[in-house]
Amino acid sequence: MNLDRRQFLALTGGGLIASQAGGSAAKAQAVKTSANIVILGVGAAGTALANRLSERLDGARITLVDARKEHLYQPGLSLVAAGLKPPGYVVSQTKQWLPSDVAWVEERAAQIDPESKKVTTEGGTTLEYDYLVVATGLVLDHDAIEGFSLDLVGTDGVGALYAGPQYAEKTWRAAQAFSEKGGVGLFTRPATEMKCAGAPLKHAFLIDDIARRAGNAGKTDMRYMANNNSLFGVPIVAEKVRMLFQHRGIAPVYSHVLKSIDPGARRAVFDTPDGQAEMDYDYIHVIPPQRAPDVVRNSGLSWADKWTDQGWVEADAKTMRHLRYPEIFAVGDVAGVPKGKTAASVKWQVPVVEDHLVAAIGGGEGTAVYNGYTSCPLITRIGRAMLIEFDYGNNLVPSFPGVIAPLEELWISWLMKEIALKATYNAMLRGRA
């Protein structure tokens, strides 16, 4: 997730003086409507959008559908998995973020019928909609890794930080043991689209740093298992990471996608262009393939010719609007756009959906455009990070050009990650950032 100029100013404290009062007056007057809006998902995207729509619309019926009672601040999971924050750091109650005037159906959506504009829940409730926002997030397909099960996390040198706060904590236990005892550490990532692609890099950097600080750098053999022939989707960042890895002694292993693990033998099998390859490990960090939830994949909303194994929603990259059903929008992880399964993407996508949805209710066309902006405070060690921001075109789009160099390891970027990021994220959830 990104910190923009506002958060930077917030961080330095100068913003109160520098900014002008009355900025919130930018909010347009509430649009009167009786529109029936259903939002699938109460994660970052669904919650932020519900709050913003609740402000913008007067009289609309907004219904959120999701069974998750706990909200996860996912950008914090990498800190939990490095022993820097407790699991509770990332957990809050969904209810506390929701506006009072929206309805929350605490069930999972079971079926979406875009033709008759209906959603059916697992409990059998049927909801009709005028506008539907698909913000379900994604599912971690752990079963796709043979031999792997979440029960293994924290034991036998197995980590999987994405699986949730308790698993991130267990991941830390396994990673900590590795940082003390040493051995071969494998840091994997899937061949599918995934949440913040910086996360596996951060984990590798952090565990290396922790081992180094403990004086155990000589004992560890760190290997980063890239899914293709690059370390990051943005070429200039990939090259910088390659150089940092070289400096830190982390070996990149290209085009190795985890297929299975044998936890007893501590052996992993990878699919490679030359067939399967086996590798022994003392610690392995598993990030499973990631896909749209079945309810989305079975609804006919997915791309027919792209990501066919993953099922992301067929959305216009600039407006987040479904290409075949104009009353449907996708936002967040489940959206089939070429970049950005991060909270920063959500922060930029939500106002775009809000603009087009509110305009549609008023009978017009929205003008906001999502340019693929996403960002990642790419932690390179405890105390330093690179603030990587980029768009659909793989261009670096720094928020502070000439001040914060995007490819430089900086303390200020770490401060942002540790102090301001969660506050900004929470403000975003409330629709205020």
Binding site: D4, R5, R6, Q7, L9, A10, T12, G13, G14, G15, L16, A18, S19, Q20, A21, G22, G23, S24, A26, L84, K347, W348, P351, R381, I382, G383, R384, V403, I404, A405, E408, E409, L410, W411, I412, W414, L415, E418, I419, A420, K422, A423, T424, N426, A427, R430, R432, A433
Partner: protein, 120 residues
């Protein structure tokens, strides 16, 4: 949402510290500032002796501010990586120094009301 907005800044600060603590700190800062202005008006002059003590306290405020930020962020002096980091550290130090100076000056003025004890 990409423009600077006072409302957003307030929102982030509220989330950072909690609504109660943030506004309590704003109130405390406002009170200290008001008290500072009050003693300046009341005494109709800057007391240079108090100002000297306030100045002497500035390095303490600067160091405390920098150490505080490091303490709450798992970081230290070794993490300063580029010019902007040095500038940020300096800004934090300056803010700490100024805050401490105002506080010390105001507290002295409030505690020692009489201006007759001042140097001519």
């Amino acid at each position: 949402m990409k423009e600077l907005s006072f409302g957003t800044l307030i929102a982030v600060f509220e989330e950072m510290m909690g609504r109660g603590l943030f506004w309590a700190l704003v109130a405390v800062a406002a009170l200290i500032t008001l008290a500072y202005v009050y003693v300046l008006i009341r005494d109709r002059a800057v007391s240079w002796r108090k100002f000297l003590l306030a100045q002497l306290s500035m390095p303490v405020g600067a160091i405390l501010a920098v150490l505080f930020v490091q303490y709450i962020t798992h970081s230290g002096f070794r993490d300063v990586g580029g010019p902007v980091d040095a500038i940020i550290m300096l800004v934090i130090a300056i803010l700490g120094a100024i805050g401490m100076a105002i506080l010390v000056y105001t507290v002295q003025s409030l505690m020692r009301h009489s201006s007759s004890s001042e140097m001519p």
